[in-house]
């Protein structure tokens, strides 16, 4: 018989898993509808392949290493662009919030470019940087930059000014205040901005690879689609959706840990 401690731990874990399963049960309904639509012939199997067939293609693509290689290429691009955007975006947002001239200079630029669909820049970055990785990384960087800048700026501007005065009267210099008080104080909004940027990085990663790439998951999807190999195409789409979901959940858990002080 297991000891009491491990016993309750196991039960708690089972409870967690079943709670999670319950939360995502609507996805199961969606998949059932998918199967029914194909089985009853309402939508042709050509357009909506059976889930079994798709799963088989998924396994084959993983085993052959094809999918993982292309996925790694894609994630490298998305990750590089996102990382640059986070670093540059946080620094720019903090500087904008702290120095009025910079705010006056950057704010209108941000306002004009914020609502612009960044995928419209795909031809532009292609002209500038060609067909290699650099053009896609630049595109993802540009797309992810503004959510981070705006999040950081709003977070930094929203800080209780008495907190800044307190730090100054305790002996902090103006520069120390920016990274010791303004940065952590703005963290909730920064983390929100980065979460939006994370979603943008996936969207831009796939859409840029549709148009200008010789590898990556976006390239796989478009070339399999062009070749009419739909079950394999859906397999890649499902895989990308899964990776995107996983990335968001991992990020959300990370953000929750960073903000543990708020939930107390």
């Amino acid at each position: 018989m297991p000891r009491a401690g491990t016993g309750t731990g196991g039960i708690n874990m089972l409870l967690d898993i079943s709670r999670g399963a319950l939360r995502y049960s609507p996805i199961a309904i969606l998949l059932i509808v998918w199967e029914l639509l194909g089985a009853t012939g309402l939508i042709s199997r050509q357009m909506l392949p059976g889930l079994g067939e798709i799963f088989g293609e998924l396994v084959a693509a993983v085993v052959s290493g094809d999918l993982l290689y292309n996925c790694a290429r894609s994630l490298m691009r998305a990750g590089s662009g996102l990382l640059c955007a986070v670093v540059v975006g946080i620094v720019a947002g903090l500087l904008m919030a702290s120095f009025r001239p910079l705010r006056l200079l950057i704010n209108p630029i941000v306002q004009i470019f914020y609502p612009m669909p960044k995928s419209a820049l795909i031809p532009v970055v292609m002209i500038w940087l060609g067909l290699g990785d650099a053009s896609k990384i630049l595109l993802i960087f540009l797309g992810c930059l503004l959510p981070v800048v705006v999040g950081t700026y709003n977070g930094a501007r929203g800080i209780n000014p008495f907190m800044i005065w307190s730090a100054r009267s305790l002996g902090a210099s103006k520069l120390e205040v920016i990274h010791e008080i303004v940065l952590p104080g703005a963290m909730p909004e920064i983390l929100n901005g980065v979460r939006t940027a994370l979603a943008f990085s996936f969207i831009l990663m796939v859409s840029s690879e549709f148009l200008i790439a010789t590898d990556g998951v976006g390239y796989m999807i478009s070339s399999l689609g062009d070749g009419g190999i739909y079950p394999a195409m859906f397999a890649v789409i499902f895989f990308v959706a899964g990776i995107g979901f996983l990335a968001d959940r991992i990020y959300a858990a990370f953000a929750r840990r960073q903000l543990a002080w708020r939930e107390a």
Binding site: N160, F162, M163, W165, S166, A167, R168, S169, L170, G171, A172, E176, E180, I181, P184, G185, M187, W261, R262, A264
Partner: protein
């Protein structure tokens, strides 16, 4: 003579007198577009000397500029006209010789109580076990032992204010600036905090400048009270509080305390009535 030269002159004069304490010399402060004449004059030619070790209350209706005066002493707002000189020279920016406690506590919410107190100590160059020990001492002093690792969001308003006071006292400021520090607390907690503050002050002999609109609070805590009027903010009366140095619950029933409170209440009401009539 230009304004700049006058300000410089005023600084020199004040500096000559400033061996100890805080000297406020002809300070005028406006908010908004001053140049176009549409600004609001918050303080008009304020002169006040606060002695070393004195507990001084700035008392007045809201809008009289008492907090503005405190922020000027703290160095948080630029001094537009006149000068403020402390033992450390003319005030030009914030410094740990004039640490402040705000009404809304202004604790760093991502730091625990101990980390909040340590922040100021680290800024003073204290490190390792020395800093930890001093933080423990001040957390003890405000009766927060056992809550060292709690985040501000886990504490009641009274406890948050104790933590803020510990953080400020820990850097051992020459002057303690307090901006309606007990204004957000319930009546019972406020009473307890007032007694504790008075006791802490009695032991530490710091100079305290305490902003409040509560007459009883001012009389209970202070050695001297500046009664301010609004629009533009001016000091109308400076009153000596001739109560014994040791004050506690009994003080509130003391005849002198009641008499003084009533007298000051009448003076404050005059200012408040005048303000509502927009004289």
């Amino acid at each position: 003579m230009t304004t700049v030269a006058m300000a410089a002159d005023a600084r020199h004069e004040a500096a000559d007198r400033a061996r100890t304490g805080i000297h406020i010399d002809n300070v005028t402060h406006s908010y908004g577009a001053r140049a176009s004449g549409r600004g609001v004059v918050a303080l008009n030619r304020i002169c006040l000397d606060i002695a070393d070790g004195e507990f001084h209350a700035l008392l007045g209706p809201s809008g009289c500029g008492k907090s503005t005066l405190l922020y000027l002493i703290g160095g948080f707002l630029p001094i537009q006209e006149g000068a403020i000189v402390t033992t450390n020279g003319p005030v030009t920016q914030p410094g740990p010789d004039r640490a402040i406690v705000f009404q809304n506590f202004a604790l760093f919410p991502w730091k625990t109580v101990k980390q909040n107190v340590l922040y100021g100590l680290r800024k003073q160059g204290l490190k390792g076990e020395d800093a930890e020990e001093r933080a423990r001492d001040y957390i003890n002093l405000v009766h927060l032992s056992g809550f060292e690792d709690a985040y501000p969001s886990q504490l009641s308003g009274g406890m948050q204010q104790r933590a803020a006071i510990a953080r400020t006292l820990a850097v051992d400021p020459k002057t303690l600036l307090m901006d309606e520090p007990f204004g957000a607390l319930d009546a019972q907690t406020r009473r307890v905090m007032q007694e504790e503050l008075r006791a802490i002050w009695g032991r530490s002999r710091k100079t305290v400048v305490f902003v409040t609109h509560d007459v009883q609070e001012a009389v209970f805590l202070a050695d001297r009270i500046s009664i301010m009027s609004s629009r533009p903010g001016r000091i109308e009366h400076v009153i000596d509080v001739s109560l014994p140095r040791d004050r506690g619950e009994d003080t509130l029933e003391d005849r002198e305390f009641i008499h003084l409170s009533e007298q000051i209440w009448r003076l404050v009401r005059e200012q408040a009535v005048a303000a509502t009539r927009g004289r």
